[in-house]
């Protein structure tokens, strides 16, 4: 096959490719005009751009002159004249520098001011959280509400039930999210000194993992364990949410609950220890 014939065939293919692009573009416009369908539009756009690309590559491969071409490379060594003129240019600045005058001092001022200004964003590492990490929105007597803001009553959960709860008025506040679990229908004691914390079998634990702060929302009712989805820390709920598996090192803090005379669940106080992951002054 002669090169002339090859060129003619390539020309035909390129013409067809550009024609396909035009047809797909019209189709794209029509599809859009008819209300659009994202998959069809995507496919038509891919065909349109693909035809264009195919055409360009065929032009490059068959119609343009082919290489490879080798060009003579220039000498990379500088001539003595070049070296001399460069040295001369460099030395022209020396008298200016050696005067060490006013301008050099101003340059020092500018650089110094810029350096000091660059220190100011360090403040963005703050503000100091102060005591905010030690408290949540739970207070003495705060009503326990579900994610819809409805107050939780003593009969809200069946034995074996578990929901996420918040302090009334603070639904969605991250540091106050709490898992409410009903273990039995009798008062439940997880630790000595927590005798009144689990009325009617309701126990409540911070939902913020003590490892990396993920929400510990996977309650395994049969084993009575809370599982953190991020790193599989597992907390044994009846044993005061002690860690039975995973990277967490501290139990989930327990919220002391009480049931008021009208049957509503309320907190006896805030958590007695900071919730969530550790921080540098947690022990203070």
């Amino acid at each position: 096959m002669s090169s002339h014939q090859r060129e003619a065939r390539a020309t035909n293919r390129i013409a067809v490719a550009f024609g396909v692009t035009a047809a797909a573009a019209v189709g794209l416009a029509i599809t859009y005009g008819l209300g659009g369908q994202s998959q069809v539009e995507g496919a038509l756009l891919a065909i349109a751009l693909g035809g264009l690309g195919y055409g360009f590559v065929e032009v490059a491969k068959h119609l343009l002159p082919q290489g490879p071409y080798v060009e003579e490379r220039e000498q990379l060594v500088a001539t003595p004249e070049d070296v001399a003129s460069f040295e001369q240019a460099l030395e022209r600045g020396q008298p200016w520098l050696s005067r060490r005058g006013f301008l050099v001092k101003m340059l020092g001022l500018a650089a110094g001011a810029l350096g000091i200004a660059a220190l100011f964003p360090l403040r963005s590492l703050g503000p100091n959280p102060g005591r905010t990490l030690f408290h949540t929105r739970w207070r003495k007597g705060t009503f326990v509400v579900d994610e819809q803001g409805e107050r939780v009553r003593v009969d809200t959960l069946d034995v074996g039930g578990a929901i996420t709860v918040f302090p009334q008025g603070s639904v969605g506040v991250e540091n106050s999210q709490t898992m409410l679990i009903r273990l039995t229908d009798r008062d439940f004691v997880t630790r000595d000194g927590r005798e009144t914390w689990g009325p009617e079998g309701y126990v409540a634990f911070s939902k913020v993992c003590t490892h990396a702060g993920c929400p510990v929302g996977l309650y395994q009712q049969q084993f009575k364990k809370l599982l953190c989805p991020c790193h599989q820390s597992t907390f044994d709920v009846p044993d005061a949410a002690s860690v039975s598996f995973g990277p967490a090192t501290r139990p989930l803090p327990q919220l002391p609950l009480m049931i008021d005379d009208d049957g509503f669940l309320r907190s006896q106080s805030d958590y007695e220890e900071p919730i969530g992951p550790g921080f540098w002054n947690r022990g203070r």
């Binding site: 082919q66 290489g67 809200t156 959960l157 069946d158 229908d185 929400p215 084993f223 989805p229």
Partner: protein
């Protein structure tokens, strides 16, 4: 030898289980007396169905749950579990189970629908527990169901209802194969490691909405085209890298002129 003989241990466990069971039933009875409107209507159950169910129970279930359905050390007491739990476990094939040490797996049911109905009637006749829920999910609110699903169900069953891993060899199953009634039964009874959501936690209306959303998740709108199993960035990344990059590599090979492909590779140095 400090170990007790196995027989003694087994008898001890069975005695313990029976004591516990009796304890639970007396509590359950007291609770039912409170009238929470949540127990199966024993009055309208068919005595013939209960009798047939008991026969099936004695041949198929009693080896684990005990002849009086009081439970053993490998299977729970069936007093107080109710019709919904029995129907869920039997119609999803989780019961009869083959390995009590592991989470029951769904499989084709071992009994016909009529036999399951009889067994359910028998378990319901033992008293207590929620009845089979009356699901009317087309009347549920899809949007509200989506909100509730994300609040209550998503943590374990995944945003797309594909299920997910738990600890200790257990998992939250996929929801795509479950019928509306099975989803509602699971909500009400909390099978295996699932928490229980009674009518005071989620109203029937809310359950209808959740079931409608779960039903929607079987064939959700996918504005991006192929959902790739809706399991997230792992499959999506795999497709992008293997198919996308693979195709681009083929294209670069095609773009390269043949004449350059055949050029012997060597340094071009001109002294």
């Amino acid at each position: 030898m400090r170990r007790k003989p196995v027989a003694v241990t087994l008898v001890g466990l069975m005695v313990l289980a029976t004591c516990l069971a009796v304890g639970f039933v007396s509590i359950g009875g007291a609770g039912a007396g409170g009238g929470d409107g949540n127990s199966a209507g024993d009055a309208d159950s068919d005595p013939d169905a209960v009798r047939r169910g008991r026969e099936l129970y004695l041949t198929g279930c009693s080896s684990c749950h005990g002849t009086a359905a009081r439970g053993t050390d490998i299977a729970p007491d069936l007093h107080g579990v109710g019709a919904a739990a029995a129907d869920f476990q039997l119609s999803t094939g989780r019961m009869p189970d083959t390995d009590p040490d592991r989470q029951p797996e769904p499989k084709p049911p071992a009994y016909t629908r009529a036999e399951i109905d009889d067994l359910v009637a028998y378990v319901a006749s033992l008293g207590g527990g929620p009845p089979i829920p009356d699901v009317d999910h087309p009347r549920g609110d899809l949007q509200a169901g989506g909100v509730l699903y994300r609040q209550v169900c998503q943590a374990c069953h995944s945003a797309a209802g594909n299920g997910g891993a738990l600890s200790l060899g257990n998992d939250a199953p996929t929801l795509h194969g479950a019928t509306p009634v099975e989803v509602a039964e699971a909500i009400r009874t909390g099978p295996s490691n699932m928490p229980v959501f009674g009518p005071d936690t989620l109203t029937n209306r809310q359950v209808n909405s959740i079931v409608r959303y779960v039903d929607y998740l079987r064939d959700p709108d996918n504005p991006g085209g192929a959902p790739l199993g809706l399991v997230g960035p792992i499959t999506e990344g795999l497709v992008a890298i293997v198919l996308g990059l693979g195709f681009l590599m083929l294209v670069t090979r095609w773009i390269e002129p043949r004449s350059m492909r055949d050029e012997p590779q060597g340094p071009l140095i001109h002294e």
